[in-house]
């Protein structure tokens, strides 16, 4: 075997993802890339750029803004979109709540995670998107581990896990009836560590919150949650200043921070390699309710 004609696994994953992006651009009339500002969707955008260079990414970036974002992630989003010259569509959960008189979640950590689905489905309808590209990975969660790369959703955005289309070889069938929609996950086969290794290899910029910094936090069921406009301490809470980083970037109300001293990419990767807790387990406050939380949300039209 000639080693100069051999792809290592990261290069194989990259090629597979680029192939998927090009299938999307060719098979759908109005695709969109769902961009959250986190490392997975930043990686997605990087891959999309590579897939269509020297042309532009032939679809808009869509951000479903819960209103509970980290300001660092929003700044990063805007800078990235303008640097790419990409169209950025932002739709706000706040507006959906008002227009549809939805009930705001209450409590100390009022997660709008679930309400995002309403805004997403409205946005799909508003623009007539027939395909939404997402950055979900199969290693994240048990229900995600079951989903196809091209995941057909009905007109209510619902996933039917008991009736998925066969998906053979690298052949993707994106045919749908009007009103239906396909969610496409180009980085399905990447693990968290693959993403970090790729970010290092490609020198991809990330929002600063992925690296260790000082923050005022409280402790909630063993997890560190940052004090912010959306999360206020109550009397029992002990407010501490800790050096933390984020392992995922979701809403400020439902994403926990990790105590860390890792200020560089190299140090972050070392910590991730050493950890014995999964990404979701360490960072998501909202996923512990039931074992089927993710499956239920997907059945209802979630990403």
């Amino acid at each position: 075997m000639n080693n100069s004609h051999h792809l290592n696994y990261l290069e194989q994953l990259e090629s597979e993802s680029i192939h998927i992006f090009r299938e999307v651009a060719a098979q759908f009339e109005k695709p969109a890339l769902l961009f959250s500002g986190g490392k997975d969707s930043i990686t997605l955008v990087h891959l999309a750029r590579k897939a269509f260079a020297p042309g532009r990414i032939p679809f808009p970036l869509v951000h479903i803004d819960t209103g509970h974002n980290f300001p660092e992630a929003l700044d990063f989003r805007d800078a990235m979109a303008s640097q790419l010259g990409a169209t950025l569509v932002v739709r706000k959960v706040q507006d959906t709540i008002r227009q549809r008189s939805l009930t705001e979640p209450k409590g100390k950590f009022p997660s709008r995670n679930w309400l995002q689905t309403y805004t997403l489905l409205d946005t799909i309808e508003e623009f007539g998107f027939d395909c939404c590209i997402g950055g979900a990975r199969r290693d994240e969660e048990k229900a995600r581990a079951k989903e196809r790369i091209f995941s057909v959703r009905d007109e209510f955005g619902q996933w039917n896990p008991k009736l998925q289309r066969p998906e053979l070889w690298n052949i993707y069938n994106g045919k749908i009836h009007k009103g239906e929609n396909v969610r496409v996950f180009p980085i399905s086969n990447w693990t968290e560590l693959d993403i970090w290794n790729y970010i290092r290899k490609e020198n991809i910029d990330l929002p600063s919150i992925y690296f260790a910094h000082e923050r005022k936090v409280i402790q909630h069921e063993g997890q560190l949650v940052a004090i912010s406009e959306f999360v206020q301490p109550d009397e029992q809470d002990l407010v501490m200043t800790k050096k933390v980083r984020y392992r995922t970037v979701g809403d400020m109300t439902c994403t926990a921070a990790v105590e860390s001293t890792a200020e560089t990419l190299e140090e972050v990767i070392n910590e991730i390699v050493a950890t014995r807790i999964s990404e979701r387990g360490e960072t998501r406050i909202d996923d512990k309710v039931t074992e089927a939380a993710m499956e239920d949300r997907k059945k209802n039209g979630y990403f």
Partner: protein, 413 residues
């Protein structure tokens, strides 16, 4: 580091999901919180053990019924290799999901319950393994704890399966006696099965020789998407984006565009907008040609001195995957990577009987899960190689235009 994609197969309840759970557990690839969740969901078991199958059975219905319905993918690595596992369902009703997982696997673990021996699903999954030409086959004789680790039971199953393998032309078979439940011969060598002198499963998976299956000889490149930036500085740029299916392409190569049959020369090869001089399989790349030719999605660019077949009549093997039967004379869409053409099923010659493994005449319609030999006629010529020669360029799917479902896996002869 190498990447090995493998799948577990075999009949319902033979222990596929348990095996994967055990593999992850004993190789310390389960994280603390996943383990806690597992313990929590199995705490009502009387003996206090955890149900390792729940690590992959991620759907509510699967947990309720204790069966696997659709493939689950798991990722793990050891210092030697990186693995992508597909845990397939054993139930006959979900065979198409098993095929989904198997189509990208280069190794298959076929589990057999030591008490049951070779059963119909063992044969069905073996047929699929042989059709798809999966390179390596491990036969895992599981639940050895329930047959007192008997060497005779194991040997009988080896004899039976060898016969199946011979009939199907399966080669490279490794037999391992094990207990997925207790962890015998999964990661650690079992002391209770001392008569077995081979390796435990994980050692085998780490060491099996992955002769690179990438074909670098027969250059095939199918256009997925045409990149035309139409900006001021790239006004006339026209790049053909696609994945190199096989072979190597260099600037200056004499090429032919098929099915048109037009010759040209490669003006540049690029990856992510950068000229690279050459590209090879399985890279995703962009080719530019020296001449202005009408090329669109689905067209193939090959080297002029190494041509694939071009025909609108195809001899194929079909795995039928739809609940509705295949009707001879019906029209379907044939999707061959990025090329889609209408096709009509002209004739069904025989089916492969899952019990005798023999060819049999088809009476009536072809039903779900049947494997048949058929002739297809396409509305436009297809450019292809046989599956045997170049699996990625000899495989396709049939799509029912009214339901949009993927109804068949197509392997071109």
């Amino acid at each position: 580091m190498d990447l090995l994609r493998f799948i577990t197969a075999g009949s319902v309840d033979d222990g596929k999901s348990t095996l994967i759970g055990r593999l992850l557990y004993d190789s310390k690839n389960i994280l603390i919180d996943q383990l806690e969740a597992l313990e929590k969901s199995t705490k009502n078991r009387t003996d206090g053990s955890v149900d390792l199958a729940l690590l992959t059975d991620g759907l509510r219905a699967e947990r309720e019924q204790g069966i696997t319905i659709d493939v689950a993918y798991r990722y793990f690595s050891t210092p030697k290799r990186k693995f992508i596992i597909a845990d397939a369902p054993g139930h006959v009703q979900y065979t198409r999901n098993m095929i989904t997982g198997a189509s990208n696997a280069s190794l298959i673990i076929i589990l057999i319950d030591a008490r049951q021996g070779v059963v119909e699903q063992t044969r069905r999954h073996s047929i699929i393994a042989s059709l798809l030409r999966i390179k390596h086959v491990v036969v895992a004789v599981n639940k050895m704890d329930l047959v007192e680790f008997s060497q005779d039971v194991f040997n009988d199953i080896v004899i039976d399966y060898n016969q199946v393998a011979a009939q199907l032309g399966l080669k490279n078979i490794t037999y391992i006696p094990m207990s997925a439940l207790d962890g015998d011969n999964i990661v650690d060598k079992s002391e209770r099965i001392a008569w077995y002198t081979g390796k435990p499963l994980l050692d085998f998976l780490e060491e099996v020789q992955l002769d690179d299956d990438v074909n670098l000889t027969d250059a095939r490149f199918q256009v997925q998407f045409v990149i035309r930036p139409q900006t001021e500085e790239l006004h006339d740029y026209r790049g053909y984006a696609g994945k190199v299916i096989s072979g190597i392409y260099k600037k200056g190569d004499k090429v032919t565009v098929l099915p048109q049959g037009i010759d040209s020369t490669i003006a540049s090869v690029e990856i992510a907008g950068e000229e690279t001089g050459e590209v090879f399989a399985p890279q995703s790349a962009v080719l530019q040609l020296a001449d202005d030719i009408d090329i669109s999605r689905g067209d193939t660019i090959v080297k002029s001195d190494n041509r694939p077949q071009v025909s609108n009549e195809l001899e194929v093997l079909l795995c039928w995957m739809d609940d509705k039967p295949l009707l001879t004379g019906n029209k379907y869409l044939l999707q061959h990577n990025s090329r889609v053409v209408r096709a009509i099923v002209k004739q069904v010659e025989y089916k492969i009987d899952v019990n005798t493994l023999q060819q049999q005449p088809v009476e009536g319609n072809v039903k779900l899960n049947e494997v048949v030999k058929a002739t297809l006629k396409t509305a436009a010529p297809l450019v292809y190689d046989s599956y045997e020669k170049l699996s990625e360029y000899g495989s396709a799917i049939l799509v029912d235009e009214t339901s949009n479902s993927t109804v068949a896996a197509v392997l071109i002869k």
